[in-house]
């Protein structure tokens, strides 16, 4: 084989190189992003002093946290997720309802879910005074989807 052939083959081969795609790097099913605001001054964020969030029968997903912003997962196998929210000793139950769209991402990431037409409701107002939907479609975690006024 002539040297020039090897060179040409090498050049062509470089266009056919492979990439590793065994690790999932793309964003998958997004979490629900909630921000906490002051009911007395609705443009101001207001941190919750001792926030606990859980599903009845399970451990807390958020435990004794002082924060004004959280991300929690929604159930991917059901159209409703109900969480208990507590601040100090006051507890309110918030129910999120939504539609689910399954979207193919990639070989390594598989499928994700995009949540559409999300609504939030509560039966009591022990500390959560008002729920405001900012983005009814949860497709990424770049911005907040829901405001909680307290």
């Amino acid at each position: 084989m002539k040297k020039s052939h090897i060179l040409i083959f090498g050049i062509i081969l470089s266009f056919f190189s492979c990439e590793v795609d065994d690790i999932c790097l793309e964003p998958t099913t997004p979490q629900l992003i909630i921000r906490f605001y002051d009911i007395a001054n609705p443009t101001n964020k207001k941190a919750v002093n001792s926030l606990n969030i859980w599903i009845v029968g399970k451990d807390s997903i958020i435990k004794n946290k002082k924060t004004d912003s959280i991300a929690i997962p929604l159930k991917t196998g059901a159209n409703i997720t109900t969480y208990k929210f507590s601040s100090s000793n006051a507890v309110d139950e918030i129910t999120y309802s939504y539609e689910r769209n399954e979207v193919f991402v990639s070989r390594s990431c598989g499928y994700k879910i995009i949540f559409k037409n999300i609504t939030a409701s509560k039966s009591t107002s022990n500390w959560v005074k008002q729920l405001i939907i900012i983005k009814p479609t949860v497709e990424n975690e770049k911005n907040a989807h829901i405001k909680i006024m307290h």
């Binding site: 084989m1 062509i12 056919f16 998958t28 997962p73 159930k75 991917t76 390594s108 598989g110 879910i113």
Partner: protein
């Protein structure tokens, strides 16, 4: 001083190369008749892979025809059924493929030897279907159980077109019986992806990587049917 040295060197290289050519022409005067023939073979790697791997079954027939001293028309036709299991998806691909192209033999044979080290290209086409057997939704954390979907979805009448660069060898072991091995480097030209899924595996093209490239190999046993003989 230096310039004259370089000049001398150039002149001597010039005469050396002319001398070489004259010698080469002389040895070339021995005329050897080579067959212009049709060669047909099977890929033995695919049935073997199918025997050891229950998720794969395949068959490939390869043929080529020498139409000019160093040039061969080449083609492969085959069938593949493969189940791919990834972390979140399990799917089965099933279909047939056809590859057409040419090989160039870059190997200088001694006298009447008929071996090859070849470089070639192919245009590949496949018609296939994909069945997503099961998948699980990729979600954050483990607070909720994984949501897995088990009912299979089948996508029919899918096609793909691609180009291949092939590098391989062929050795005549017994008279007219050849053993061959080749590797191919594929780049996808066009494919019809199913709705909300992707052709992650294509018969003949094999695993589709992120940048739409693929690779393949085969081991063939082939028999040469001599048609007529001609001087080189």
């Amino acid at each position: 001083m230096k310039k004259t040295h370089i000049l001398k060197l150039c002149i001597s290289i010039f005469f050396l190369s002319i001398g070489n050519q004259i010698i080469a022409q002389k040895t070339d005067s021995l005329k050897i008749k080579n067959p212009y023939s049709l060669r047909l073979g099977v890929d033995i790697s695919k049935p073997i892979m199918g025997f050891f791997n229950k998720d794969f079954s395949g068959f490939e027939i390869a043929g080529d025809f020498r139409f000019k001293n160093r040039y061969y028309l080449a083609s492969e036709i085959g069938f593949t059924q493969k189940t791919t299991s990834e972390e979140y998806i399990n799917f089965t691909t099933k279909g047939t493929y056809l590859k057409i192209g040419a090989n160039y033999n870059a190997y200088n044979n001694w006298l009447d030897m008929k071996n090859e080290i070849f470089i070639g290209f192919r245009y590949g086409f496949s018609n296939f279907n994909q069945t997503v057997n099961s998948y699980a939704i990729n979600q954050y954390g483990t607070y909720f159980d994984e949501y897995a979907v088990q009912n299979p979805i089948q996508f029919d009448n899918l096609t793909a077109h691609w180009a291949e660069l092939v590098l391989g060898i062929k050795v005549e072991t017994f008279k007219n019986l050849y053993l061959g091995a080749s590797a191919s480097f594929n780049t996808l030209i066009k494919t019809t992806d199913p709705e909300n899924f992707q052709n992650l595996y294509i018969p003949g093209f094999n695993k589709r990587h992120l940048n739409s490239s693929g690779a393949g190999f085969n081991y063939t046993i082939s028999y040469q049917i001599p048609l007529y003989k001609k001087v080189k």
